[in-house]
Symmetry: C2
Subunit: 331 residues, 2 copies
Amino acid sequence: MKIVLDAMGSDAHPAPDVAGAVLAAREFNLAIILVGDESRLKPELAKHDTRGLDLSITHASTAIGMTEHVEAIKEKKDASMNIGMKLVKEKQADAFVTAGNTGAAMAAAIVGPYALGRIRGIKRPALTAALPTATGRTLCLDIGANADVKPEYLYQFAIMGSLYAERCLGIQKPRVGLLSNGEEEGKGPMVVREAYAMLKSAPINFCGNAEGRDIPAGTFDVVVSDGYVGNVVIKLSESLAKTLTNFIKDEIKKRPIAMVGAALAKPAFDALKKRLDPSEFGGGILLGVDGVVIIGHGRSDAKAIKNAIRVAKEAVAGQVVQVIASGLAAS
Amino acid sequence: MKIVLDAMGSDAHPAPDVAGAVLAAREFNLAIILVGDESRLKPELAKHDTRGLDLSITHASTAIGMTEHVEAIKEKKDASMNIGMKLVKEKQADAFVTAGNTGAAMAAAIVGPYALGRIRGIKRPALTAALPTATGRTLCLDIGANADVKPEYLYQFAIMGSLYAERCLGIQKPRVGLLSNGEEEGKGPMVVREAYAMLKSAPINFCGNAEGRDIPAGTFDVVVSDGYVGNVVIKLSESLAKTLTNFIKDEIKKRPIAMVGAALAKPAFDALKKRLDPSEFGGGILLGVDGVVIIGHGRSDAKAIKNAIRVAKEAVAGQVVQVIASGLAAS
């Protein structure tokens, strides 16, 4: 299996990207192609012990910045994201991974000069994220590819999310929920109510409406929404967890006796930190495109990059594209 | 000032409702009318020392249960919510407070047999909640009255939220944000983009798009959205805070040494608990109706009821209805 990594992706590129690729190549026994500015990648790669690893560099003369508009994907044909996508499109690699600009990465896959195109029958691709919950993780989609949706898009997101969770994440009969503002059927905006009606007869384990509280509670394995509310959910969750943790830390620092207590309680806080650690999650898959595309967080460190590559490997091994294509035909 | 309290509202009614009314009558020097089953309210009230307080009971033969459909508001004309609303409509009281079924309470105010009706020019009322943030509180609206919105509804929510924050909550030039999935103008679903264009020339301190992360961060004083995503935000926030706190507690319990630490760190956790305590917040105002209506959490205790009554008092004192009516005419 061969994975392409956009080595110019993360905020601190290329150091974490290259380091993560080295870790992944060793741990998962994968071939990895690093795409980016060769004059920067070569010396970066030379810092690592890469003996016995299948790591190569494909040059890309430019890259898309984190704050650039998605239009840049069309203007910068030779950006690392486009060159990486080209390798997948031309079947020279099995998957593309980036920790770069999310909007640009989606554009590269869907409308860029080397766009992979959609799986036949898929109306809109959807981006996923696996949020930590009380009991494990909940796969949320869409988290940003489609701000406006139609009922049939939500229906397809549910099918894709269920198939991905089952075949690539190993969750049996994933419990699929439709995000709404009330648990009963009939609650929610028109588009959600219409999607509900369609999902009742879908060949998945559709469990009805999910509410905001169900996500941290882990009531569902897959929660489906439009990309607007999904994006709000992801950013709110990350920010709230950080705000709460900082608040506890600040309160502890105010009180000497509490500081002693905090030192003793540190293992518990470390466990929380690990639980919330986005680097454990790696990256989210863009479902519905005709190829495996994983988009990680801009703040990814080497471990996060390694885990994003793991997500790509699992998706390739689970044959996600074929599974969705045949699952969709059956539904 | 005279406030009507639905004494059959909270999950554990009427005890917390009556106790909260007694606290509020004493602390805020208010006249309070308790509406509900007289045979239950009389003995409940007799448990308290009410000397010198202006507390009275108005009988209502029935009440709306927490799990009843909103249609019940039309079927049960003599429910405590309807009788309470009637007192406000007939100007026998200045505000209505309930910790009952949120959907039914909104219905009672908007379409019930004694509906207060909308302020002239207001297209849709919006329900608010004040979420705890890193720096204070952010007023979110709508959190559940309107699952589907039009751009002009969002525009009016922003005007109402800004006026309420300024005149009743004492926030000068409230920073108003429009919830979206990206901070730049042009991000978000069509309805959000159109509302953004309208808000640029609104006579308020409109600060652009708010993202999910801005809510816990406290970047804005008022965050405007439709009632679908607003409801998800509220329920997700409450649940995530609880999940995180429980996770830390569970981890601490696993480790004897951490338990000692936790005992010492307790004041810090108590501060967090107080910060997140929904009873501090009391209840959210239903903006846009021609009268003051406050809806509290079903799990309200006496303190929460007292604080919901405080929110009502501040809204009446701030003349929220008149302020919105004249502010809307000016915008």
